[in-house]
Symmetry: C2
Subunit: 227 residues, 2 copies
């Protein structure tokens, strides 16, 4: 019940995001797989690259002239392709790792817009990690007290199972930046003896700080910035 | 004389790169400012994003199906736009820094494909850094013994003056990876008392390791990867 509400909420948020596009400029939903990009979008492509390469930081909203571009990017097929290529990179790297038999080879995945909304792309692929013997830790800045059960339900409802542990933000970490909070959790995992081979997130704040793991993977997100 | 040769060499290398494009597929030079991207290029856009976000690593050559895409990107206007947006970000950030009067506020810039081939975009802008009072250190993996004088000449010939120091690779660092070598040099600069506010390079190996400085800026380079 709660999980359905969460999913519904997520859908509502996406539609809310899309709804703020300037209608006056002749807004027109883009067809799937439309990838022709007009000259006016060239700036937005630079901006998106700047975001993904961590050159553009601390932005609060998508630049007004890029609303339509970001919408086309998200639902027009290119976002799916970008995710697909990164998942390929992840699996290709993961398959080269020689796992020890102590069960301490681990990956860390962010939750929002990493596990949750990209589920379609991981479906059938995430088992590539779990089945090979990696321990998968889901690490989120969501508050444990208020969102703990809903997040568990949401993950289960979406079929995201087989992970080792879901780590939410407890009271001790309240008010900390994502970089500070997540660095401490990763440190604890290393102290428990885990070898973190990969760290996957849609925000650079998931992938910066300390104890990053052997490799990081940045999933695209031109919709919002988490400091 | 040497500097002209260096510049000529650089031009030759770019043309060599372009010359290996598969002629059989109907190679056609692209006009300036052409930014329409066909569906076949969608994969290459994902690949380029993967490179710039440091998801695709240790690649030896541009994927064959992306030769034309990369050429269009480099000479068709989008590379220039990408650089322009990053330079804007650099200056906007640099202008917010409150400089101390001890002359120890510093930036580190890589040389190849950061200072040298992007000179046009920095021209008239780099003085934004130097004139504000920053000390600019140019840090390159080029060998001091064999390329030291040529690099100095090349920079001067291109009008790249006003920097504090050009740091080339001495015998002590031979054979080290870029990350290891550059981390040590940055550590030395911090030990000299410099506060490194920004670190600019076209390779992630310029921007990873230790003593990275307060912010890093990744300039695009879909042509080659330096580990």
């Amino acid at each position: 019940m709660i999980s359905e509400m969460m999913e519904r909420l997520q859908e509502v948020l996406i539609f809310l995001f899309l709804a703020i596009f300037p209608k006056a400029t002749g807004f027109k939903p883009c067809t799937k797989d439309s990838t022709s990009i007009d000259v006016g979008s060239a700036y937005c492509l630079s901006w998106r690259l700047g975001v993904e390469a961590n050159n553009v930081r601390a932005w609060r909203t998508v630049p007004a002239q890029c609303f339509r571009y970001v919408e086309t990017y998200m639902i027009g097929g290119q976002y799916d392709r970008d995710i697909g290529l990164i998942v390929e990179q992840i699996l290709s790297y993961a398959n080269q790792i020689y796992l020890s038999d102590d069960g301490m080879d681990a990956w860390i995945l962010d939750v929002d817009d990493t596990c949750i909304s990209n589920l379609l792309y991981y479906r059938g692929k995430r088992y590539g990690l779990v089945q090979r013997g990696f321990k998968v830790f889901l690490l989120t800045g969501r508050d444990q007290e208020t969102l703990g059960q809903a997040t568990l339900d949401n993950l289960q409802y979406q079929g995201f199972i087989g992970y080792e542990r879901l780590i939410l933000r407890t009271a001790a970490y309240k008010g900390q930046s994502a970089v500070t909070y997540k660095s401490q959790i990763r440190k604890q995992l290393e102290e428990e003896g885990y070898r973190v081979w990969g760290n996957v997130g849609d925000q650079w704040s998931d992938l910066q700080g300390e104890y990053l793991g052997n490799r990081t993977f940045k999933l695209p997100n031109p919709m919002y910035f988490v400091p």
